[in-house]
């Protein structure tokens, strides 16, 4: 009996500690932006909206959020369209060495956008005149996301029976019609998953836009966040916390919306 009670108490304590560990940063994010003198500790704020006002005085803040949105949406669109086409082809056509190809791509993708490839990437972007353009950032980030996106989508497509497509083919549908009418609606949860995942990835990317963009007018939020320091190099916690809050809101809203609308399903096939 006591043993049982002790175990319950032990478990509760454990979870309380873990919960505290994870919720403290979130609490900080919720309180610090409204605190007149925020520190790295969480405390009841000395309530003010002043931080928001001084943040908006920085000319790059709002434009950086717009840039983030543009780069994220552009990359997500590119990744979803290209990955859907590639995954459909790879799932339905017998290509010798298909699986090996996919694994190699997956392996290389982490190299392509990884730190090690930054110098050649910069060089390449310079020669293609893509430095300081949104397109350069979008292409680079999409390139890194595509292999994993293809991999996941191919799994979704493998899980849908071919008889639907064959049936449409006998009725005379063209490959693009089959893709539009049959395949895409069937793998829509997969496409939503990929889109959200791509947006979240681009939203958090720092290194690539930091290197590829010089003009602060084009920099996304992740890069601008890095500039919120005093001349002396000390972090402006009031601005950083406020910007972090603003910066994370769109992604949270997107998650909630997409998960309401489509539900995230990673297991492929059709939920009827």
């Amino acid at each position: 009996m006591t043993r049982h009670a002790l175990a319950t108490i032990g478990r509760a304590t454990f979870f309380a500690v873990v919960l505290g560990f994870f919720s403290l940063p979130l609490l900080w994010l919720a309180s610090a932006p409204f605190d007149a003198h925020p520190s790295i500790t969480t405390s009841l704020p000395e309530f003010t909206f002043g931080n928001f006002r001084s943040l908006l005085d920085n000319p790059y803040v709002m434009s950086s959020l717009r840039n983030s949105l543009l780069q994220a949406a552009g990359s997500a669109a590119l990744v979803v369209v290209l990955a859907a086409l590639a995954a459909y082809a790879l799932s339905r056509v017998r290509v010798p060495g298909r699986d090996a190809l996919l694994y190699v791509l997956l392996l290389l993708s982490s190299v392509v956008t990884g730190t090690a490839a930054m110098v050649p990437l910069f060089e390449l972007a310079t020669r293609l005149n893509l430095i300081d353009t949104h397109l350069g950032v979008i292409l680079t980030l999409s390139g890194g996301l595509l292999p994993a996106a293809i991999f996941i989508l191919k799994d979704f497509m493998d899980g849908t029976p071919t008889s639907y497509e064959e049936s449409a083919r006998v009725f005379g549908a063209s490959p693009l019609q089959i893709l539009r009418h049959i395949v895409i609606p069937l793998v829509r949860p997969g496409l939503a998953t990929i889109a959200v995942w791509a947006v979240a990835n681009v939203w958090g990317s720092f290194l690539q836009p930091f290197i590829l963009l010089r003009d602060p007018d084009k920099s996304p939020g992740a890069v601008i966040l890095y500039t919120l320091y005093t001349e002396g190099g000390a972090p402006r916690l009031d601005l950083i916390s406020t910007f972090s809050l603003l910066y994370s809101l769109p992604v949270v809203v997107m998650y909630v919306f997409v998960s309401r609308r489509y539900g995230f399903r990673f297991h492929g096939g059709i939920k009827r």
Binding site: P161, S163, Y164, V170, G172, H181, R272
Partner: protein
């Protein structure tokens, strides 16, 4: 009309699913492809539809060679074994899909779908998704979709096999009436000989990628071309016993039977349907034309019993009417009815005995 000539389909890995096959299917005919699992029925149907490319040979539909045409330009409609109804479309949209591909306006195709649906008593279900339908309803939606495309040929792959036994009988009658009304050439695949006999105008019996016999249900039932067909057709399998012709007499399992005149001496296979023998429990006097044996198994068929006799190391099955079934272990004699047995030599039908 569908004509297949020298059709061969070899899958990568060397499986010959269809082996130089020739076949003519007439206009308006309800034609069954019957055979055991894995004999190549589905492959043949898919080759006619254009979903498989033949390794060699030709497919002709309505007098034109369509071997090189894609499925969409062959003017056929196929109903798949799993019906392949699009799960994200409701019944109307599913039925109207072939018309959507043909660029018929939305209003026209929805009217057409509603009309086809009412013909198959689906009017109440138009707004439902396939997942909200029973198996029988799904089957009718799949048929409606095929009908809506107004094809020259229907291809059905085991259209009834996903239905339970009772529904299958209803659907069978329904299908036959529908095909009569539409009078569209129909090829359907089945491994159920009863279904083929009941539905088809003609049947092709397939075995290992080849057609062993083509004929009307009655021809295939009464004069199976070889022992394989004989064993495959019929609700109870035919007795196939080793026999020999000697000096004008036929020796089978200890019985001596009259031999049709024109058969030379030598080994034979003697085929007799269990329905075409009479069982008696008293020894016949002064006659040798009955098989004697011990009753090994009695199976209840409802209105009759299937009795298995053990005669030496041969098994002979006889269907006995209700009430006449013998006790297990009793001695019994099975007398074949004259003119009902079939004789095969070298896997070819010689003549009835």
């Amino acid at each position: 009309m569908i004509s297949l000539s020298g059709l061969t389909k070899e899958f990568p890995g060397g499986v010959r699913a269809i082996d130089s096959l020739d076949l003519e299917i007439r206009d308006g005919e309800f034609f069954a492809l019957l055979g055991p699992s894995g004999c190549g029925k589905t492959t043949l149907l898919r080759t006619i539809a254009g979903l498989e490319t033949p390794t060699s040979g030709n497919v002709g539909i309505g007098g034109t060679d369509v071997t090189g045409l894609p499925p969409g330009r062959r003017d056929v409609a196929m109903v798949f074994q799993d019906y392949a109804l699009f799960p994200h479309m409701d019944v109307t949209t599913n039925i109207a899909y072939p018309l959507r591909i043909k660029k018929v306006s939305r209003a026209r195709r929805e009217a057409k779908a509603a009309e086809t649906a009412s013909r198959l008593s689906l009017s109440e279900l138009l707004a439902r998704r396939p997942a909200q339908l029973s198996g029988g309803q799904q089957q009718r939606v799949a048929l409606a979709r095929a009908i809506a495309s107004r094809p020259q040929v229907f291809l059905f792959d085991e259209p009834l096999s996903n239905l339970d036994a009772r529904l299958r009988l209803e659907a069978r009658t329904f299908l036959k009436r529908l095909q009569r009304e539409l009078a569209v050439t129909t090829v359907f695949v089945t491994h159920d000989q009863g279904e083929a006999l009941a539905l088809a105008d003609r049947i092709a019996v397939m075995n290992a990628g080849r057609i062993t016999q083509v004929g009307t249900p009655s021809e295939v039932f009464h004069r199976p071309a070889d022992p394989f067909v004989a064993g495959f057709i019929g609700s109870t399998p035919m007795n196939l016993l080793p026999a020999s012709a000697e000096g004008g007499e036929l020796h089978v399992a200890g019985a001596v039977l009259p031999l049709p005149r024109d058969i030379p001496d030598g080994p034979l296979v003697y085929g007799l349907r269990p329905e075409y023998a009479d069982l008696s429990q008293s020894a016949p006097v002064g006659r040798r034309d009955a098989f004697s044996g011990k009753v090994a198994v009695v199976e209840n068929l409802g209105t009759a019993h299937l009795v298995t006799l053990e005669s030496g190391d041969l098994l002979i099955q006889v269907v006995v009417p209700e009430g006449d079934e013998p006790a297990v272990g009793a001695s019994a004699w099975a007398a074949p009815r004259p003119g009902r047995a079939l004789l095969y030599r070298d896997d070819r039908l010689l003549t009835g005995a």
